[in-house]
Subunit: 336 residues, 2 copies
DNA sequence: TTGAAAGCGCTAACAG
DNA sequence: CTGTTAGCGCTTTCAA
């Protein structure tokens, strides 16, 4: 591995000049520039970004803290974020965390000297936001947000669930189950609000056995659905707080020999890729495809490049759009 | 942001001692260690890993060059790799590249000073392998490999396709289509070999209209399937070289109102998560779930920590296992 | 337009 | 067991 000093020697210039042709080419005389460029070529010189970072105190790297890629939503946002970052000349350091233990993230971020952080996994009361704010590391949340504010881009969650709930009620459903992650995440907290509200508006009961806020692991969801569908009285519709949950839910429903939507209507939220697949055709609530990740990334780079500042908090709420497909239908569309 | 010098001052020791309690705690007297630890605590000191990297010439970071996460296989391997790396104390820098342009990857890798590279996107004749070998950056390929050898973990691709082809022939299929990515990737090259061989063994014809090696973009695949199914004579089975291809293929088949498997049998390879979903139930060829990514990562860390060496090339071939589900059935199981 | 020199924050000899 | 010192490879004044 040759260094800029080697290049300098070969080109017969000072090391500082090598640095100049790399960072500010027009500040160096064309002839010398050529000599340096040639030397770089011959030595296959590649600048050491670590050394550069140490002096500039920037890394052109962002950290992405996301949920597991098993969840199509995170796979899609991660894909678009990494893509976009690359396009902007940034590298992406990823962490796919368990919901529960978003650990010494602060130390991780600080020690890695990333230029910014994109976070989709944060609890409502997570102290991380304040910590990051104190040390002024640009940070944008997407999908979820924290109580303490910060920059974020989220879906209008209450409306999203409200729409799908109204849709189901409009189809004649009264016995509606709600399957969600735990409410210490803003996503699930906000979505549950929308559900409750519409149910109340219509004077409908939220039966405790049909309303669950659980860990969003496959096992937990499977167990929950299985238990629910083994009771004597079944709901006629299940609203899932995410497509990922709905997909798992669908798996169990079909496994138990029930038909969708004839026996049970099913809906999700997020409009992930699989939701539109013809073998699935999940009724869901969408927001512009890939938008959330890209918008979040875009916002982050703005913060990084223009400098963060309290006044213009980036707080974007995407408008939801109900997408009716084949998993929801009129109640008792075939007798039961 | 306080540095180790600040800590040293506060604790009344030299900066080198601070470094010691971080890297070799037992080499420093318990009392002084405590003083230093306290100072670290009070100042909220977090070591600057950039500076450390500059001197140690290691980053505890690996690069992962993977295909798009839209493909479930890559989503699963990426998830497990990042997870595993984190568990080993490594960070992961990810790139989700387009198949075609795996660009100045070499410069990228060199300048980032990653400790190792995991690659699932490489053409058979890619010069990158030799380049990396020359500069001695530990590097493991998974899923795909290069002509020039190197370390890799792959599926026994010819056998994988052979098994599924025999399965279909056993079901009475004679008009079998084959849908694959381009053969400048080892995966597709090797899989096509298995297909050809078994077809020949059984004296079956590979019709050009039914045998395509195309870009694995959704659009290309959709167009191909659509064209194929609009011709007067239809195949009775389509073997797809990956689950991702099969999933897209299924989408179009269903859209065109054809039934699976009654009209057309369909199979994939990889046993991705969605393949087992009850709405899909894709017949496929599996290898231990998540194994490929994890094995590759494991191998890489071995190379990094024990040191690379020519003699013990890591070349692992996973045994395939046919998983028969609901998308394949006897030919003409209902009249056509 | 170029070179010399001072660090960035840390690790790792080498003395003591 | 601890302090002193010399870099790691680069950017960035400051002079020339």
């Amino acid at each position: 591995m040759s260094s800029s000093i080697d290049v300098a020697k070969k080109a017969g210039v000072s090391q500082a000049t090598v640095s100049r042709v790399l960072n500010n080419p027009q500040s160096v005389k064309p002839e010398t520039r050529m000599k340096v460029l040639q030397a770089i070529e011959q030595l296959q010189y590649v600048p050491n970004l670590i050394a550069r970072s140490l002096v500039t105190n920037t890394t052109r790297t962002i950290a992405l803290i996301s949920g597991s890629l098993q969840n199509g939503f995170f796979a899609e946002t991660t894909d678009s974020i990494v893509q976009f970052a690359k396009h902007k000349g940034y590298k992406t350091l990823v962490y796919f965390e368990d919901e529960n233990k978003v650990p010494d993230l602060f130390d991780l971020i600080m020690s890695s000297k990333v230029d910014g952080v994109l976070l989709s996994l944060i609890k409502l009361d997570d102290p991380l936001v304040e910590q990051l704010e104190r040390v002024k590391v640009p940070c944008v949340f997407f999908n979820r947000r924290s109580k303490s504010g910060g920059h974020y881009v989220v879906l209008d969650n209450p409306s999203a669930v409200a729409e799908v709930t109204r849709h189901l009620i409009g189809l004649g459903h009264r016995k509606i189950a709600y399957l969600s992650g735990k409410t210490d995440f803003s996503t699930f907290q906000e979505r549950s609000v929308g559900f409750k509200q519409v149910m109340q508006e219509h004077g409908l009961e939220m039966k405790p056995e049909w309303t669950s806020f659980i860990d969003t692991t496959t096992e937990e969801i499977e167990r929950m659905v299985f238990t629910m569908l083994n009771r004597p009285e079944l709901p006629t519709a299940i609203i899932c707080a995410t497509d990922a949950i709905a997909l798992i839910c669908m798996d169990i429903i079909l496994m138990m020999g029930l038909r969708i939507p004839e026996d049970i209507s099913l809906s999700g939220i997020d409009n992930t890729r699989m939701a539109s697949h013809r073998a699935v055709q999940l009724t869901t609530v969408g927001h512009q495809k890939f938008a959330m990740g890209t918008i979040a990334a875009e916002s982050l780079f703005e913060l990084i490049e223009k400098g963060d500042s309290e006044r213009n908090a980036i707080q974007i709420t995407l408008r939801p759009e109900l997408i009716v497909r084949k998993t929801t239908g009129p109640v008792n569309s075939s007798g039961s």
